[in-house]
Amino acid sequence: MTGNYSAAEAARFARVEVVAAYPITPQTTIVERLAKIIEEGKLKARYVRVESEHSAMAACIGASAAGARVFTATSSHGLLYMHEMLHWASIMRLPVVMCVVNRAVGPWNIHVDHNDSVSQRDTGWIQFYVEDNQEIFDTIIQSYKISEQALLPSMICMDGFVLSHTSQPLELPCQEDIDQLIPHDQKGHMLLDVDSPMTLGSLNMDGTEGEGIPAYMEHRYFADKAMENIRQTLRTIDEEFRKKCGRSYGGLIQEYRCDDAEVVMVSMGTLAAQAKLAVDELRNEGYKVGAVKLRVFRPFPAEELRKLAERVKAFAIVDRNVSYGSGGAAFTETKAALYGVKEQPLVLGFIVGLGGRDVTPSHQRTIFEQTARVLEKGRTTEAEIWFNLKKEMQ
């Protein structure tokens, strides 16, 4: 099953009640599949064929506030178009689950890079980056539990075309197991209740609410705290999932051959899966290297990276995104996470694969080698490298 179909199947198993989505390459086959299974009666849901992504998120907010379990999906400019509503969903503490099929932004490129979702990292959404289609399915299922418990929305990001349109074997669970794992408590989630009227999202100007009542800033604090609490609950929920479905993803990061690694590559999405090939090749030649996959980008796995920093000599942070004037997001945030660590490892940043430029295991090997060379020279820092630009442009 392709990555997109896996996402649609996960929504079906989660028994979502409202889908509000707008087509955009390369997400389109998710919504096409959902439309089909809803019309065939395989999924009892209302599909609101909204006229824009901004409306898609607004409709998801409305439906979720009215107690329904919702699902949506988008990419690139679609995600950017709904940006203001992303903030609205998270601060209203609504458990919206969205699949983001990563695609480059700006005119016009339909291939993968992470600028779309990474640029939304401040919106208060939990962010997952998956490496294969099974993980798409499993993570969407887990997200419902995580979001409905933490009351924060989740986005599950998959590489456009690389996963969305590539078929991989998919193991489907038993519907009863999923029903038990993520039962939907409608009454508990319904905020718009005619028997108990309340107003959501009214004027929250700081300082007018009185003693003992949380104000604007306290609400943001609570949301941040909820995001922080996920660091623990993620493992518990993963364990519950493992008991029902037999697969486990651990916590915020996944380590590959890092126990005695001197140089570790950090990446997100399919690059993390592929890094294992470069690691194996170099290990066969006797080099002590490892790879880390940032399974979760929000909340940022600062603690996990600090722990690794105690024994690793160098990090090669591979970003398939860039914040102009600041650098790759994982690079910047890793350096911030490692601030204050007594024995600072070398941290190098590589910007790769924007607009779908191919990144091969051979490229990843080169990145390891470049990092090792800088480490040998005894340098403590170096400018971020835009990897594999056309030679004439450098």
Binding site: H54, A59, I61, G62, A66, M85
Partner: protein, 293 residues
Amino acid sequence: MILGLPEEELVLPGNSSCAGCGGTLALRHTLKALGKRTIIVVPACCTSVIQGLYPNSALNIPTLNTAFASAAAAASGVTAALEARQVDDITVLAWAGDGGTADIGIQALSGAAERETNFLYICYDNEAYMNTGIQRSGATPYGMRTTTTPTGKREHKKDLPMVMAAHEIEYVATACPSYPKDLHDKVKKAKNIKGTKYIHILTPCPTGWLFDGSLTIEVGRKAVVSGSWILFEIEKGELELTSVSKNLIDPEKRIPIEDYLKSQGRFDDLTEEDLVEIKKWTSHQWDKVLRLQ
């Protein structure tokens, strides 16, 4: 019951509306017609502020505040959730200003209408972005002074009721709180129709139109009796004039438009040419309406 209307106030007193607010009066009557089993969706507009400050709210029904452009979209979501649970005795009301309807919100409204969303969308029109200090909107009439049209708007008012009629939705109507029974009956009728319903209420605003707060009802009456605002309803494509507008087809029966315009400071700078243009346009509005009759 008083005057055939439920006594209970669903818009609670002590809210933040300006003294004499036509919009709040319109909402008060709308909710009397719809009752407690109503969910209201409010985008950024005067009503966002009129609700008062967290943790108190002036609206005694479940209320979802949403971003400016998204009233109809959020309402579509609420409607979908109720349908998914097979709940059919709760009315979903999108209550938006002219800004959130004619300008930034028109895309979502058009989409919701085309999808035949089962909800009631009401635009309460004070003819400018009043909440943010009287900036012009697409619904601002010709010649009105606003902060972004200081010498008077040079374009005519966007004809939203006709835009919605062109969507061929189940029910389109115009109203004014100066005629509360007409407003009440239209809302009540819309409540019992399945599909997309649109009601456009002209709500006089003392603050932005520049008249004394005690004259809100009188200004609204003048708007209708001068022919500037036509009260009608369109059900399944059939248009019928309602209330006093029924008797105003003959321009001789109307009061002079000057009576309406001169009662408000916002039209203080109108020239003779402006007046001619306005009269021409008003006549044109009547032609459009009568053609559909």
